[in-house]
């Protein structure tokens, strides 16, 4: 009996000791946070696979939590236990995290790679370096897809943003995102407001009422979505005629799934997605995170990502390097939201305006939805 006890105690102790020993090099372990799905897959293919091939012994864990990144980082910060190393967020979230001191400030010229021709990172990213913590990665757009087989006979396919509001020519349900951003801009644009004046009008009480009144004209024909996957699903089901979503989702539905869906790029809204590094990492982890971000946002890597998903690289110098899709073999350039043919009429997400007015307009929008 005693022998068994000794043996089991010793083996239990050695087990714990073995686990403690594995601790040695913390920074060989990295937790990246992203959005899951095809987007995360493109990051795995373009960034982490080559990175782990170059740096043997580094292992990467993915957490599909970008949607609640702000809340989770706040909680982690409060509990003093930050388990994330590099986090993929949209620019608006990056600005909030930066303001709250939850994200590390980045000096682009110091900590990011220069372009191959020697242009500094600051110039290469240009305007897209919003805030002090945000490391841009891609430009994506929120735009419309429509069922090509549901376009009424004798009518041209929708090509203007105002076709969304034209229930007579294009009957059928629409899918719009369950938040005011983008929707109110489109509504005003189709209510006769000039593109340059949209945000001036939206600042006023009457302007906000006017946008909601325009949305009211199609309210009964709208399904409101909250996840990017909803619209492609609804389009595939034939439940809606047209709907807004991220352009990469539509690309996947059209080119990879062969769905009868067409793109309507008019008045697409550009937004940025990129990395932040949380504040408060240990020195070893911070060094690893910076090393990874330096690698993953260089010119070639950003161009490589476009082989797997139709989002535009954030660097000017990456654009000429965008090639063909890795498995479909089609040219990716015409599918980029930044392609001149697609970008004839575009919006850029107005961070300043929405930072100031978001809560206010959000409340009005939700109240309007509930009416």
């Amino acid at each position: 009996m005693n022998k068994i006890k000794i043996v089991s105690t010793v083996s239990a102790l050695s087990l714990v000791a073995g686990m403690a020993h594995a601790d040695g090099h913390m920074a060989s372990d990295m937790t990246l946070v992203s959005w899951g799905g095809a987007y995360q897959q493109s990051q795995i293919n373009a960034y982490t696979d080559p990175y782990t091939a170059m740096n043997e012994g580094v292992s990467v864990t993915w957490d599909e939590s970008s949607a609640e990144a702000v809340a989770k980082l706040r909680a982690m910060n409060e509990a003093g236990n930050i388990t994330w190393d590099v986090v993929d967020v949209v620019a608006a979230d990056a600005l909030r995290l930066c303001d709250e001191g939850l994200a590390m400030e980045i000096d682009a010229d110091e900590q990011l790679a220069a372009a191959p021709d020697g242009t500094s990172a600051e110039d290469d990213f240009g305007d897209l370096l919003v805030g002090d913590c945000f490391i841009p990665q891609i430009v994506y757009s929120t735009t419309f897809g429509y069922r090509t087989d549901m376009v009424p006979d004798g009518v041209a396919a929708p090509s203007n943003i105002c076709d969304v509001f034209d229930l007579e020519t294009y009957p059928g349900m629409r899918a719009l995102e369950k938040r005011p951003i983008n929707n109110v801009e489109w509504a005003l644009l189709c209510d006769g407001v000039a593109k340059d004046d949209v945000y001036d009008v939206l600042e006023t009480e009457e302007g906000q009422e006017r946008a909601l009144a325009k949305l009211d004209t199609i309210k009964d024909s709208v399904i409101w979505w909250s996840a990017g996957a909803d619209t492609p699903q609804l389009l595939a089901d034939g439940e809606i005629f047209m709907g807004s979503t991220y352009n990469g989702r539509l690309f996947a539905a059209i080119e990879e799934q062969g769905q009868p869906i067409g793109m309507m790029w008019d008045a697409q809204v550009f937004d940025l997605d990129g990395w932040i590094i949380p504040e408060g990492l240990s020195d070893e982890r911070k060094a690893r995170a910076l090393d990874f971000v330096y690698f993953a946002t260089d010119t070639q890597r950003l161009a490589d990502q476009a082989k797997y998903i139709s989002y535009g690289p954030a660097r000017l110098s990456s654009a000429p390097l965008v090639g063909k899709h890795a498995s479909l073999g089609i040219d990716m350039a015409p599918h980029m939201p930044t392609d001149p043919n697609n970008a004839a009429n575009t919006f850029l997400y107005n961070y300043e305006f929405w930072a100031d007015y978001r809560d206010d307009i959000d409340a009005k929008f939700q109240a309007w939805l509930a009416q």
Binding site: T31, A38, A229
Partner: protein, 463 residues
Amino acid sequence: MSDLNISVERPPLLTFTVPMVAILGACLGFVTGNVFEQPMVGCVVGALIGALLSVVLAQFEGIARRKKTWSTAALFAIAGLIFGGTGGLVGGAVVGLCLGWFATWIGSGQYRAGVPTYYTAAQTLWHNVFLAIAAMILFFLVAPLVPVMWLSFNAQDFFTFTPAMLAFEAEGYSLKHYRNFFDGGGRPGLGLLYGTLIGAVVGGLLQLLPNAERSLGKFVIFALVGAVLGVIVGKMWGVSGAEWMTPLKNSLIIAPFATLISVSLGTLAAIGLSQSHVPFRQWIMAIMISPMIVPLIISATGMFFFYAPLGNWLEATLGLNQSFVGYVKVILAHAVLGVPFVIITVTATLVGFDNSLTRAAANMGANPVTTFFRVQMPLILPGVISGGLFAFITSFDEVVVVLFVGSAKQQTLPWQMFTGLREQISPTILAAATVLVTISILLLTTVELLRRRSERLRGLSPG
């Protein structure tokens, strides 16, 4: 009551059977007509077909009901095949089965078979409506699973019944979502080999023990259990970074440990709390089962702030590995959630436990530990096992607490399903759900069969 039932009589054909079957025919016709966007036409045609069918079926008196039903189904299926291809075949068979069964059931007067003869028409109607409601409840409990399983074989990446699927064409179906689910390496073949071998060896060795019952059956059972466990362990061996297999592996690590802890603690707590001399029993009980009552999101937030410093301390002071600490935190949190289930089921079985048995055992010189394992435990085992099953399922299904307490390395299967559903709506989730449902059914069936077998062996039921 059964002697009150006499042999049933045929109801009048024209005034009763025909209209009844015509009504059902109209309902089915309405549904079928909807497919072709002509519900009203379908309604009328269905009523006519129903009336005709009831008259025709009434002409064959000597044929058994079952034969009539199946031949109606076959007839409808053939008609469906002619008009609507493969999809029509299945639809026709289902409609034919319903209508044929109903027509013969009504026509032969069987609807009165379950009620005493003195029942009025209204009472008979209520009796049958009641049965129908009960059947509907069962149907609505189970029916949502059917499209999930069906859609999991979809060839497209959407939750959509494609025309090819509805027409039962082979190209509409695919196993690719199952391939996605099981993707990620592992060595199931090797695991099967080793598992069977180890199981067989252990089964063989056990037979060599003195006083052991020797039988080939035991040997085979050990080898089979070894094979099953071997396949699972082999499939999980060395898996990392796979989209679905890694979460499954995490779930299979976390759930058994959490179950073990909650069963041990919960059983002991239940036994202690069933002793009449324990002070504040009600209060302790209330605190112990509170994780079941407090909203999960509240427990989860509390646990997050409780376990974070604990984890930090374990990592900093004891120098334990970060991912090991992560597992410990999730396992402890899940164990807390499982304890109430074990306490409740074990307390329930303890109510029927005769305490004079423990006194008798003590009288014969057994110490409390021996008494517990040899006398009390075997008798309360059913409660312990069902509590353990509940604890296991709680941990295996849990998504809120693990989202808070766990980090990405402890991502469990429900967590992966949750993010997958929110971000990508991929039918792989349906494949995962189908696999889980199948496993649960197999598991529960096995447990039930074993329970019956042991009852039979103990002579508790005539079996």
